[in-house]
């Protein structure tokens, strides 16, 4: 255990593949260029590239050594420059055990250790046997006293303890022990994504836009392929298209969208198949994936915030996805948040939070009823314009409604600002452009959806404070909710535009750590009284 060790030799294979994967764009470019001029150098070039990938992969495996100590792990790696990576368990944010296709062939796993901070190197042990990986995870997760409870990560038994929607809307959850001291319950709560949900998830994932863009670009590159003969060939076979030209363009756009939609369904399927989240002791264990089984471990005290997104396609069905924001991050990985529940019905969220985040306040968001009451009671206070007095009416009794202390919405005088804000997006290009292109006048019709969006955004923006947590609902195309513990707020800020000053309105910004960056949430056009109350809350 305390010796320097190499990884399993399979790591050299994954190393080779990794090198090839990193240079895949170079390879494609070389292929495109090479296929045009038929010189023999091209083949030599490809051969040399593959050979060096091989060499680098094997050398990389040879030079990679790790040593597990009592509470830290030392990694030596690097082919030409030796890098030494020492990770202490107190600095580990998230650990991830995954098994890709190659690892699965040999019955191995790959372990990724994520730490916080911008320049941190990612530590990936790409081929370990499952036993060792689990030992390392146990060592590196300090609060995990009951290591033996880590039941087999890759057991496929899918217990369907699905979150049963609670009938009572207001089940008062005053059972809120302070964080990190949760009583260890005998059963470990578990939530599984059912296959039906997975299908909905795949159908409504917004990823096809991204894939469509990529496909479109790739198709654009294949200009050699799109010749008159080929077009004619397609046109001959599809009776609907009699006119090449416009119809062909429409047809190919439709085809790109369809193909990318199917691709996005497949990727979501592969990514979230068998999604299970378990609470074990002081950790959350999330496992998912069809081809590559990924098991992520997040200690509770590493969770920076929780967010929930109701996508445009999902909101009409009352569906949303809940994710965890942590400071752990992987270099070069786009997706920074970690999904805790890829698809969940809005009313199940309450139960889900009770099971997994019992100590989080305002977990249910703000119910319609209390919203009404609070708004009525705070109406008179909002109309007062005395800035210096910090309002007391707005602070409710501490027992009331999941310990909600302050509820705020943008005031009525901000309504028109919300309505016209989305319109700025099109109006300036429009004013400039319509001088030359008169038909652009039709673009003015955009004001209808834009104003509607502004109206919805106004209705959706709200903020709630409890003694320890901050809750914000806002809209950036999709409706989002975010819960942040007060101790995780990195900074707080307000900003005021010269035009807002007349109406005494402020934007309020909250920033949290997310990966190596900050996640800054901004609520727009709040009254100065609310702003003062928020500042007051922050100082307490």
């Amino acid at each position: 255990m305390f010796e320097f060790q190499r990884l399993h030799w399979v790591a050299s294979i994954t190393g080779v593949l990794e090198v090839i994967k990193q240079n895949v764009f170079t390879l494609i470019i070389v292929f495109i260029v090479g296929s045009r001029n038929e010189s023999p150098y091209f083949i030599w070039l490809i051969g040399a590239g593959l050979l060096s990938a091989f060499g680098l992969g094997i050398l990389g495996w040879f030079r990679f050594k790790y040593q597990l100590l009592e509470d830290e792990i030392h990694i030596h790696k690097g082919i030409f420059v030796q890098k030494k990576l020492y990770i202490h368990k107190n600095r580990v944010q998230v650990t991830e055990i995954s098994a890709g296709i190659i690892q699965r062939i040999f019955g191995l796993v790959s372990l990724t250790i994520q730490t916080a901070g911008g320049g941190s190197e990612r530590a990936v042990l790409s081929a370990l046997d499952a036993e060792t990986a689990r030992t390392i995870v146990e060592v590196l997760n300090p609060k995990n006293t009951k290591g033996s409870e880590l039941n087999s990560e890759f057991s496929q038994e899918e217990q369907q303890i699905n979150a049963v929607p609670n009938e009572g809307e207001h089940s008062h959850t005053n059972l809120t022990p302070p964080p990190n001291h949760q009583p260890h319950s005998n059963h470990n709560p578990e939530w599984t994504l059912s296959n039906k949900r997975l299908l909905y998830l795949a159908l409504t994932s917004g990823e096809f836009g991204i894939i469509a863009t990529i496909l479109g670009t790739v198709l654009g590159q294949l200009s050699d392929f799109i010749t008159d003969e080929n077009i004619q060939w397609i046109v001959d076979r599809i009776p609907l298209i009699q006119q090449p030209g416009l119809f062909f363009v429409l047809f190919s756009i439709g085809a790109v969208i369809l193909v990318s939609y199917v691709l996005s369904i497949i990727t979501s399927f592969v990514r979230y198949y068998g999604f299970t989240i378990r609470k074990i002791g002081n950790e959350l264990h999330i496992s998912r994936g069809l081809l590559e089984r990924i098991q992520t471990t997040v200690p509770y005290h590493r969770i920076q915030a929780i967010s929930s997104t109701e996508g445009l396609l999902r909101q009409p069905f009352g569906l949303e996805s809940i994710s965890i924001i942590s400071a752990g991050h992987q270099q070069g990985q786009q997706q920074r948040s970690l999904l805790a529940a890829p698809l969940i019905l809005g009313h199940e969220r309450e139960v889900f939070f009770q099971q997994f985040f019992g100590s989080w306040e305002i977990a249910q968001g703000i119910s319609q009823q209390s919203r009404q009451e609070l708004q009525d009671s705070s109406q008179d206070f909002l109309s007062r314009v005395n800035e210096s007095i910090i309002p007391s009416q707005n602070f409710l009794e501490s027992n009331d409604e999941h310990e909600l202390q302050l509820y705020a919405k943008p005031p009525k005088r901000a309504f028109f600002r919300y309505l016209r804000r989305p319109n700025y997006l099109w109006i300036f290009p429009f004013l400039v452009g319509s001088y030359w292109l008169p038909w652009l006048l039709w673009v003015a019709l955009l004001s209808i959806p834009a104003t509607l969006y502004g109206w919805i955004a106004y209705k959706d923006t709200e903020l709630g404070l409890s003694s320890e947590h901050l809750y914000i609902r806002y809209r950036v195309l999709a409706r989002k909710h975010i819960w942040v513990p007060k101790v995780r707020l990195q900074s707080i800020g307000t900003s005021q535009h010269i035009l807002q000053k007349r109406k005494k309105l402020y934007h309020v910004m909250f920033s949290v750590v997310s990966g190596s960056h900050e996640l800054s949430v901004r609520v727009k056009d709040f009254s100065s009284d609310t702003m003062n109350s928020i500042m007051n809350w922050f100082h307490r």
């Binding site: 900003s495 535009h497 000053k501 750590v513």
Partner: protein, 156 residues
């Protein structure tokens, strides 16, 4: 306005900075002149853009440093650091002491000649700066904040 102001020497220092960095405003004019020598466009365009650049340059160098200075204020106490700045967008930021990860000060050649330095506080997410404090003051502040941070036991 918060209690503390940044050092008044910031005004000449910024003026010098803007005077140097503002020179790039003339680059469109230079490019247009180049096009003019190739006989692509008329001389009027060159003159017009040069005049426009000149006016902007004068405005920036003459008024912006003073305006920016008068709108900058900050305050440091045992709870946190507050900063207030901005001419059109007035921003007010507050960083609690116990979130600060490290503090550093920095000084460029212009700032050094005016005896100023920049102090920057980084928390886990981002960093915030107070520009143009007197050298000694920024060192003091740095020590004070580091001392305060040392007392905090919380972890990210």
């Amino acid at each position: 306005m918060l209690e503390e102001r940044i050092h008044p020497n910031a005004i000449p220092a910024w003026r010098l900075q803007f005077a140097l960095s503002g020179l790039f405003l003339f680059s469109p004019a230079a490019f247009l002149y180049f096009l003019h020598t190739k006989e692509v466009i008329a001389l009027e365009w060159v003159i017009g853009s040069a005049i426009l650049a000149m006016v902007m340059y004068i405005l920036i160098v003459a008024f912006l440093p003073q305006l920016r200075w008068s709108r900058w204020s900050y305050q440091v106490n045992d709870k946190g650091i507050q900063m207030r700045r901005g001419i059109i967008w007035v921003q007010h930021t507050e960083v609690p002491i116990n979130r600060i990860q490290h503090v550093d000060t920095r000084q460029g050649p212009i700032y050094r000649s005016y005896g100023l330095s920049v102090i920057r506080f980084s928390n886990a997410a981002t960093s915030h700066e107070i520009p143009a404090l007197e050298e000694d003051l920024s060192q003091d502040l740095k020590n004070r904040i580091t001392d305060m941070v040392r007392l905090v036991k919380e972890d990210v």
